[in-house]
Symmetry: D3
Subunit: 161 residues, 6 copies
């Protein structure tokens, strides 16, 4: 049974919902929060802009000349469906994404993008460094150190250094 009639305008409404459900003991996980079939692109474009204001255009500039469907899938499914699910604030989503990409170690440019997205969404550089240090336990020191160096590079670029 879905308790949502549409896409919440703010994160506050979602946070309140989570607290209410926690206190009421309802099994939140069984609640469908699929954001719906309509307006997936526009919704995705809005969520993507919260971690990188111009990224929709960057994606189009990079991929439209290869095939116009590529950016559509990333924005519709990645951001319009998954990121729009609420429950987890966008800052926590970025933290999980950063951890996953740092642990895998196979996508350095996307790791940099999401470190930037995390900083934009409110993570501190220090918090991202902590995630990387944790990665030393689960993927080894090379993955952790490479993640730390990436974090400093991205943070420095954002500081205009």
């Amino acid at each position: 049974m879905s308790v949502y009639a549409g896409f919440p305008a703010t994160l506050n409404a979602m946070a309140t919902l989570v607290e209410v459900l926690k206190e009421s003991g309802k099994t939140l996980s069984k609640v469908a929060v699929h954001a719906g079939s309509a307006g997936r692109y526009e919704r995705g474009k809005e969520w993507l802009s919260r971690i990188a204001p111009h990224q929709e255009q960057v994606l189009k500039d990079t991929f439209d000349t290869i095939n116009p469907d590529i950016t559509r899938y990333v924005i519709e499914f990645g951001y319009g469906d998954i990121y729009a699910r609420g429950i987890l604030p966008i800052r926590n989503r970025q933290a999980a994404t950063i951890a996953a990409l740092a642990a895998k170690g196979t996508a350095p440019s996307q790791l940099r993008f999401h470190i930037g997205g995390g900083l934009k969404a409110g993570l501190l550089e220090a918090e991202i460094i902590e995630i990387m240090l944790l990665i030393s336990l689960y993927a080894g020191f090379p993955a952790a150190l490479n993640g730390i160096l990436a974090t400093r590079e991205v943070a420095a670029a954002r500081e205009g250094l």
Copy 2:
């Protein structure tokens, strides 16, 4: 320069510190929060118990007969050094660990352990399911679905089903 004189007794002190530093604009990431050389095992044992109350004994029962140093390293470095660093609440550490292990897909039993640790530390099952859905974007659907199934199994076992 380290701003800590010792290991903070509660998470609240750490949270306050983070807010103060954020507001003062100090670069928190440059602050050393190494928890010190003394009492690493005891400190680690305490942090480990926050995600799994009996895990120190489980580790000793499993590994002492192979070599008594194994549990020492896990507890001293993993929990006594890294988990004890503060900055990131233990619930967030578990979220990052869960994301990393689910994305890698090479350690199912440790993934299960940390899902349990996450639930113990205050993550909702729904929040962990959200992490797994995010993993579909960064490691593919098989990793995500396997993580979802693990989450439900661990949560069910904790509910005594």
Copy 3:
């Protein structure tokens, strides 16, 4: 510019299109073949049934009790968007999927599922064995041998042995 007005009913139309475009020198890759926003679930359900006739129900039985959105995403995006793209016959899609999963070695149950899907879609067991032998060159012998054993198990089960 999209050359499709809707979802082709048969693979033959797609094959003809590919040949026409090849001969005319048009850059096929720039042709958008996004199957459209409407009816993604039904379309996905139909494509999924081509590799496993009852899998939609299996997914719902497995995941609906955890969260009803999970099966929706797999079917809507995985099969309704990606598998429905044409260009590559479903048998070739299964071959690529089998190669990817065998090379990664992190999702044995999904590998088995897609080996079965490949056989259903018209791949010969011998052709799948050839893919696995190729995997020895790109992911090593353990991945190849594990893939070969999985292929034989799935084929045997389908033969009713």
Copy 4:
């Protein structure tokens, strides 16, 4: 029991054989198609040239000064034994190889080489893009997007752009 007396001169003979076996119900997979112990290097050199006409020389130029056995193993086993097995046309072998390397994400230069090999062997750029989009489902979007960018770069270089 091997049905081959030697190495088939053309792919057509192999295709015919596959069809005959399919129709006769024989279990093709149990047919040994080991191309034999003699002439492995020459046979491998010929198969390698079908995906990259000058690659034998490139391998020798790169590796002979390190150790002359390296190129021998790649050509003898990789191409003289595995690629020479028939059953799967070389274009399909390249498709599987591309899928495996894109999913792993750990060998970008070899992925580029085999994308080029695939185009040489008759795959369309559009078909390779489809494989990469499929990879988004099994290894995540970063792997898929990196594969797509590699595909366009290699195709552009071949077009002399």
Copy 5:
């Protein structure tokens, strides 16, 4: 220039050669030690027996019914070409193999096989445990702990417990 006229009968000759070359300053790495095209299967069978006396038969029993070429490739290339290269004693080859498989974490049964092969070839269980502890630094604790448990299981089975 190859200094070998054929396959050395014992490891002692190889060890002596290595020492002579080290002392004379010759660049050993440029020395081709390809063991030759003749007798690859018999040579491979003999090398394989040094780590597992009955493994050739186990491979044939497992794979011949799937395709008789599989065991041929493993034995001819894996053991007849690569393991037969000398330079590195078989015990050191097993140590490197164990490290690689433990770090990858994707092939538990092959990891167990090669732990057994390492013990057979003269590695101590303690030495293998040391490799696994090193793996904690380069692939994380889960990989290390899983490798340690596998080592103890295999060693215990060999002790008849």
Copy 6:
């Protein structure tokens, strides 16, 4: 029960100990060789210098400006705890590390560092090339060839070419 009263000054003492224990049949693996809590940094700094004389300073120059704890963890745990464990000579530790990193393929700069460390610790370039050729069997040719190229580059740089 620990048979060590402190940190052995030379490797010879360790080698002797291993032989004595082997002959006496004692189960070496159950012997704790934890190097102790005191002086971990200094001990680690000394072990690290055996594979790279100036690396402690390189680590500090790279990471202290990000967070001074990073280098402490690498040196204290990586080298002061794990590398200091004896049992396995440092040359064998480097061989295992090289195998692990080459097989994973996700940390090229750390692979280069440890190839250099291996050469410093007494491995021959030829021995490292042999490890890479073995990697072809367990992680595929791309990993092996990339490892071989890295080995030659590092060796060449050390020869001043």
